[in-house]
Symmetry: C2
Subunit: 358 residues, 2 copies
């Protein structure tokens, strides 16, 4: 086993995260629901958005930037629901909204919805997957604060506004796709700064005067560049309009109309769920999606996969062998444990999935 | 005036195109509706998808690949409509579906729909614009035959599946965005071949063995590359699932279940229209979209525009000064005119919008 990395049992991690959130005052059921999303994100290999975020989430709960006692409330009509996150952890508000949409889509062809006053939702593909595992199509996007701009911009113009969707694939794992509109995630610039790297690749970012830069500090002070220039901006604007302008919140900032006071949980989202049974019928849908995914895989080379297949394989493996975490993250989790009064004593696994001594 | 380019009155062009389609057997009202979309596409400066396509559309009508006598039929419930294009010109079936969705969205928050058995729809932004000009949000995407693949693919894996959307912007022109998922349009490769260019830029295409190529002929035989690698493929798959798998048609080819016989009009689409009045209320929507478009423009440099502004300005100018067309296109239109018995005698304009002699 790698000296720096240990593998931890996902169930035990889930129990510990539940306890840690509960230690911050989150109701046990809500804590468990959020923990389940977070751990599954790591199980599927999306390590940047899973357990690694727990220290930040606990900080936000303790600082009141997300509300431990929040009760996300869903209401709606006209095939459109709204979930007021009430300042909750994003995992909770997004799951609540998606579950409501899934329920309503049993009876109807399409259910759309918005989420407001929410903490950051992490990896959006997880919520779309919830729906696809029940035979439904789902799309979800989240508005983020401005972080991105085209060359020439003198301030951050728009968020990198992630998008995710999932489809059920008959006889296969769901197709799940998740992306943001920036060329690369800002985390890459943060990492370069932390590692005191001399340069970042050209094309990632611009400096505060709007000029392209490879200097990590100038990039940090500036804006991330969109993927594919204007196309990336156009996709980010789609999300701004759906997840932002329809959310009932004001644009930007604490104290904005409709927002929680004090800058609490300012994220918002848009989603829709479609039930193929009520559109073209299950058989026609299954036949079409089976045919095009098969064609795509057949012609795309021996290593070809559709989005979601690699994550599903990773989940299968990590359910047995555990979730790998490096010493730095484990140290942070131990610190969280002592802060919230729930010591980080989570079972480690060996490579073959047996419990590791110690 | 440029020796090669003349400007033609858009109203007169519209009348002539109506007559040309009617000369192929299209009912006058339908011919006028299709002509209106096509001419407006050119008015807005999208010259590749406007009047320049009329010769191809007439060829398709005459060959029976689109059906002159088609009657697109819209049906639906559960907030979801379906428009069977019946083999019509894409401009007709897409407009019919969008108009039905706009009508239904007066009463409800979201109306989605699919279009099947349709001719190619041209520039999708035009249909989204129809909705935004009535205060509604619209999204539309069209499935295309496979044309795109990642390096290593030995055949075209998936379409470049265009996406468009539009939002109403209070006090401004609608925000309209339109893109395909390929790095560049295949028309660029066709042009390079036609012009016997020695090379195309790297990153546009792969050859039939899946290797990146700059040889125009190898690119023509191969596949177009997606924008932003896997992200472009992921967006194309979203469209394949929504516009393809929900359409009720079979994947690919004439004779596919649900398709017209003989490979007639195989395009399909997905769309949704949202009425902000029934979601968060008009005032909240207007306030939010006004704020973020203003922020975007304020920080993005002196030349900054949001998508749709340049097209709107072009439309204003061309309504007065006419639509510029080069001698080659005019020659093709004259040929169309003699084929369908409607001579191309369309009023030319001078730069200041007066009728040009001759």
């Amino acid at each position: 086993m790698d000296q720096e990395t240990s593998r931890y049992c996902s169930n035990a991690l889930s129990v510990w995260i539940t306890d840690a959130f509960a230690g911050c005052g989150v109701a046990p059921d809500d804590a468990a629901a959020a923990a389940q999303v977070i751990v599954r994100t790591s199980l599927r290999g999306i390590d940047t958005h899973g357990v690694a975020r727990v220290p930040a989430y606990v900080d936000q709960l303790r600082a009141g930037l997300t509300r431990a006692q929040a009760r996300p409330r869903t209401s709606g009509n006209h095939g459109f629901l709204h979930c007021d996150g009430d300042g909750a952890l994003g995992q909770l508000s997004a799951s609540t909204a998606m579950r409501a949409a899934i329920d309503q889509a049993q009876e109807t062809a399409i259910v759309a919805g918005t989420v407001s006053n929410s903490g950051h939702m992490g990896a959006l593909g997880l919520y779309a997957l919830q729906a696809a595992e029940r035979g439904l199509i789902a799309f979800i996007c989240q508005r983020t604060p401005p972080i991105m701009a085209l060359p020439g911009a003198t301030a951050r113009a728009i968020g990198n506004n992630p998008i995710a969707y999932a489809f059920p694939v008959p006889g296969g794992v769901p197709l799940v796709f998740d992306m943001a509109s920036s060329k690369v995630a800002r985390g890459n610039v943060l990492a370069a700064v932390r590692q005191k790297a001399a340069a970042i690749p050209a094309g990632w970012a611009i400096d505060p005067s709007g000029q392209p830069t490879t200097d990590p500090l100038a990039a940090l002070a500036g804006s991330m560049l969109p993927m594919s220039g204007h196309k990336g901006v156009g996709l980010a604007m789609l999300v701004e309009g759906l997840a932002g302008s329809l959310s009932g919140m004001d644009y930007e900032g604490p104290g904005a109309a409709g927002a929680m006071p004090g800058g609490v949980a300012t994220a918002s989202a848009f989603l829709f769920v479609i039930n193929p049974d009520h559109v073209c019928g299950r058989e026609a849908f299954d036949r079409h999606i089976t045919a095009w995914t098969a064609h795509y895989l057949a012609v795309s080379g021996v290593e070809a996969r559709y989005p979601g297949q690699r994550q599903a394989r990773c989940e299968e493996e990590r359910l047995v062998r555990g979730i790998p975490m490096d010493a730095e993250l484990v140290g942070q989790l131990r610190q969280v444990g002592s802060l919230v009064g729930t010591a980080f004593e989570v079972e480690r696994l060996t490579r073959d999935g047996a419990s590791a001594a110690g």
